[in-house]
Amino acid sequence: MTRARLSAVCVGLSTSGCAGVQSIAPSAGAHTSAFNSLFVVFLVVCGFFYLLVIGFLGAAILRRRRQGEDGVPALFRVWVGLVSLSLVGLALASWLTDRAMASYGDKGPPVRIRLTANQWWWDVEYLGANPSEAVRTANEVHLPIGRPTLIELQSNDVIHSFWVPNLAGKQDLIPGRTEDIALLPRKIGVFRGQCAEFCGAQHAHMALTVVVEPEAQFRSWWRQQQAEAPAPRTPEQLAGMTYVTTRECATCHAIAGTTASASVAPDLTHIASRKTIAAGTLPMSRGGLYAWIADPQGVKPGAHMPYIGLEARQLDAVVAYLETLK
């Protein structure tokens, strides 16, 4: 079941299979494009030196008849000069690329996000111009294409690392500090990020969905996320809401517009609009919700979501309610 399940997570992100949604190629951001150019420069220079070494080694092995150092000391000086010069060149190229990357955050009015890492999920806050625009979600960020996004990075527990390879390199999230990273998306698509610093038992299941979309779509998404949770429409949904807001769930989770307002676990206000459950562990679907709520420790052993032991009727109601939280 696991294999099919994860393939489903992957298909949840992209209709054309998953290869490339978490990769330096295809590049979808200015930083990764710059990385790719610099990488090619390094690859060519390093490849050249490797061929020189292997050529010299091969010649040394095959040349077995004569003896003597003829020309070797001169060659040695040339070699040391060549190595040193190339290293200066590479260091310079690296430094210039780094300077260029540092300027990408200034290219236009930025979207501001505060991302707080937790064992093993991402807390996402969009910081609008005024408090009414603020949005809280989890494990999924939406970014407008062509505009920089500035992300404040914090951690609530251990060191994590923010990494969306298609867009940019890594930045660690360190408890007690606020770090930041700028992104400049240049390609529409759904990408996947993943914690890159070992952070404990479920380090492998700490993914982040990144949706790069046109400005208009991004704005409508943001507006929709600002809304409170819709009211339940059926008795079953109402029962679900009652359970979620008055029982175990509400000790950790928040749902805007209800009495559930805790903030130690992902915000559920628009959970059904997200593409995955439990930081990329399961695809967002009725089956996924059932699996996660019924047996979180089977799906993601060690996660802080406890086993509750809902009766079948309660589970049906809770899932029915959560599915309405678009």
Binding site: L38, V72, I159, Q202, P301
Partner: protein, 637 residues
């Protein structure tokens, strides 16, 4: 009546008397009391290879788990323990100790000494090393193996996020290996500085001796950083200090600075001895002294110094100031210059010599082909913009396995083949050796070459599983096949070792035609190493002698353990020095220290009460012997 070696005491009688003086007592107590560097060295080598095999088995389990996506072979918890144990064992219990182990066996022979300096100290070192390794692996067997990575970043390794004793086991194992490594380094530096054969000036030392000299100093400068770090960690966990707790004014990044200030030199502590191996093998199998000897020495020293200026390149993603990063990029790339010099000089030696391609030489060639790839990918990850993508991905896993397996394990396997006849008196099978080399070389590249792509395609390190369809499946499967290939090669190598140990062809003193002093004595060497102290007049003493006897110096006592000390730079005979007798106290001191260390995982009072037996054992160890009567010192002619 004082007896000395000299013209009137030669041959069989000299051999008998020296053997009587330098042998240890038979029996278990005698076995445990030995201070003979050859016995301790052999135990060290065998123990290190046992840990190598154990950590290799863990690697196979990990590769099996990762062979396919979402494999349920082992749980996340078990996987995290396994990758921590693999890294910690390979780094702390195999790679560093095995280099020390070979040095313990070879350095006294290569410099023409009767025994290593501070013989009891190096025996103590072995028992401490063994104690640390046993503690870690027993903890792992009891399911309290560390699960925090071999780097143990705080606060994940702190009291809040790793309750229980798992991180303590890791930190205390570090303490054991620190003590062991520092003790060995003191012995090796003492041996190299003061016990060289007369005439072996600094510029005539074999390159392996140079490498170990540099490495021993690196250990002495690097180990205090990790000692402090692991000490802080243990006190955070045990007595509530807050060195790494940001909520109380501590700093988790402090850990990373201290860890990598040790951790990067550590890589060169592993690699530089391997360059010494490569130099020795290349010299012997090319039939000429290594090209560019002074440059090779300078490269060793330069690498040793630069190694301490690179540690921040492990921390590019932590958000330190970018201008500072540029310095560490430049420093990291600079290491490519001494490495480039060494590579050139080895190839130039082959080029201008008459190379023979025995198994040790095959490993040298495999080393060059492999290590240079790792070095070049190292230049890539030295660049900040490149590293920020590659950091903590399988690209880096590929990079450091190219450097550590290609750069250190290949030369090690070569040098085991090379010095096996010296240690056992028998040759290893050439045929099996070639098979093992071919398989390990091909399988290594099959395992780790694909990981460059796996990493660039976005797979992070230290994940116990991964989703299907990310483009990583086939690459991971290939890596797993390669890993089993490496296992087959290692098994073949070990079969070769065991069968050759009993049935190998007899070697004679100098089967490869080497030129350094270890080849001047019998294989295996007698307990006293050399009947007379050899005298050295060039870098290639045995080739100068051309099969004849070496010039020697006589006049050392044969009725007591006595060694010759020479001057530091020119190795002129200086004083004669008594060499320590065998003693059980190093073992008892190691046991007492181990009890203190293990106890302090559970209660700080273990440090107080545990210090008493340690003090007793050390007092007995250093209890003054009857001093020699004055006036019996002769002048060495």
């Amino acid at each position: 009546m004082i007896a000395r070696d000299g013209p009137e005491l030669q041959g069989a009688e000299l051999h008998d008397r020296l053997t009587r003086t330098w042998s240890r007592k038979p029996g278990l107590i005698g076995w445990l009391s030995t201070v003979d560097h050859k016995e301790v060295g052999r135990r060290y080598i065998v123990t290190a290879f046992v840990f190598f095999v154990l950590a290799g088995v863990l690697a196979l389990i990990m590769r099996t788990q990762l062979a396919r996506p979402e494999s349920g072979l082992i749980t996340a918890d078990r996987y995290n323990q396994i990758f921590t144990m693999h890294g910690s064992t390979m780094m702390f219990l195999f790679a560093v100790p095995v280099m020390d182990a070979v040095a313990i066996y070879l350095i006294p022979l290569m410099v023409g000494a009767r025994n290593i300096a501070f013989p009891r100290l190096h025996a103590f070192s072995y028992y401490m090393y063994l104690g640390g390794g046993l503690m870690l692996w027993i903890a792992f067997a009891l399911n309290i193996g560390p699960d925090i990575g071999w780097f143990a970043y705080t606060p994940l390794s702190g009291p809040e996020y790793d309750p229980g004793k798992r991180a303590d086991m890791w930190a205390q194992m570090i303490t054991f290996t620190e003590v062991a490594a520092l003790a060995v380094s003191a012995s090796i530096i003492g041996t190299i500085f003061k016990q060289r054969a007369p005439g072996m000036r600094l510029d005539r030392m074999p390159l392996f001796v140079w490498a170990m000299l540099v490495v021993s100093f690196m250990v002495i400068f690097a180990m205090p950083a990790i000692a402090l770090a692991s000490g802080f960690l243990i006190s955070d966990r045990l007595v509530g200090t807050q060195f790494f707790n940001p909520a109380e004014g501590g700093d988790p990044i402090l850990w990373q600075h201290m860890f990598w200030f040790f951790g990067h030199p550590e890589v060169y502590i592993i690699f530089l001895p391997a360059t010494g191996f490569v130099s020795q093998i290349t010299e012997t199998f090319s039939g000429r002294s290594v090209f560019g000897y002074p440059y090779m020495v300078l490269a060793l020293v330069a690498t040793g110094l630069l190694a301490f200026g690179l540690w921040v390149h492990h921390m590019f993603a932590t958000g330190l100031p970018r201008m500072g990063y540029a310095f560490y990029t430049a420093a990291s790339m600079t290491v490519a210059i001494p490495s480039g010099v060494q590579i050139f000089c080895w190839i130039a030696t082959i080029w201008s010599g008459r190379p023979r391609f025995g198994v040790p030489m095959l490993y040298v060639i495999g080393f060059i082909i492999t290590f240079v790839i790792g070095g070049l990918s190292g230049v890539m990850v030295a660049s900040v913009p490149l590293d920020l993508q590659m950091h903590d991905t399988y690209f880096v896993v590929a990079h450091f396995h190219y450097v550590l397996i290609g750069g250190a394990v290949f030369p090690l396997l070569g040098v085991v083949t090379y010095w096996f006849p010296k240690i056992t008196g028998r040759m290893m099978s050439e045929r099996l050796g070639r098979w093992a080399f071919g398989i390990v070389f091909a399988s290594f590249h099959l395992t780790f070459m694909p990981m460059h792509w796996t990493g660039l395609m976005g797979m992070p390190r230290r994940v116990y599983t991964y989703p299907a369809g990310m483009g990583w499946d086939a690459l991971n499967f290939v890596s797993t096949i390669g890993a089993f290939g490496i296992a087959i090669a290692v098994i073949l190598f070990l079969v070769n070792v065991f069968t050759s140990y009993w049935k190998g062809e007899l070697a004679g003193p100098n089967p490869w035609g080497g030129t350094s002093l270890e080849w001047a004595t019998t294989s295996p060497p007698p307990p006293y190493n050399f009947a007379h102290v050899p005298v050295v007049e060039s870098r290639t003493p045995l080739w100068d002698a051309d099969g004849g006897p070496l010039p020697v110096m006589t006049g050392l006592r044969v009725d007591e353990r006595e060694t010759l000390l020479t001057t530091l730079i020119d190795a002129e005979p200086d004083v004669r020095e008594a060499s320590a007798e065998p003693s059980i106290w190093p073992l008892l001191a190691a046991i007492a220290t181990s009890i203190l260390f293990v106890g302090s995982v559970f209660t700080p009072w273990a440090v107080v009460w545990g210090a008493i037996p340690v003090a007793i054992a050390l007092t007995a160890w250093f209890w003054p012997k009857r001093s020699r009567e004055p006036g019996e010192e002769p002048v060495i002619a």
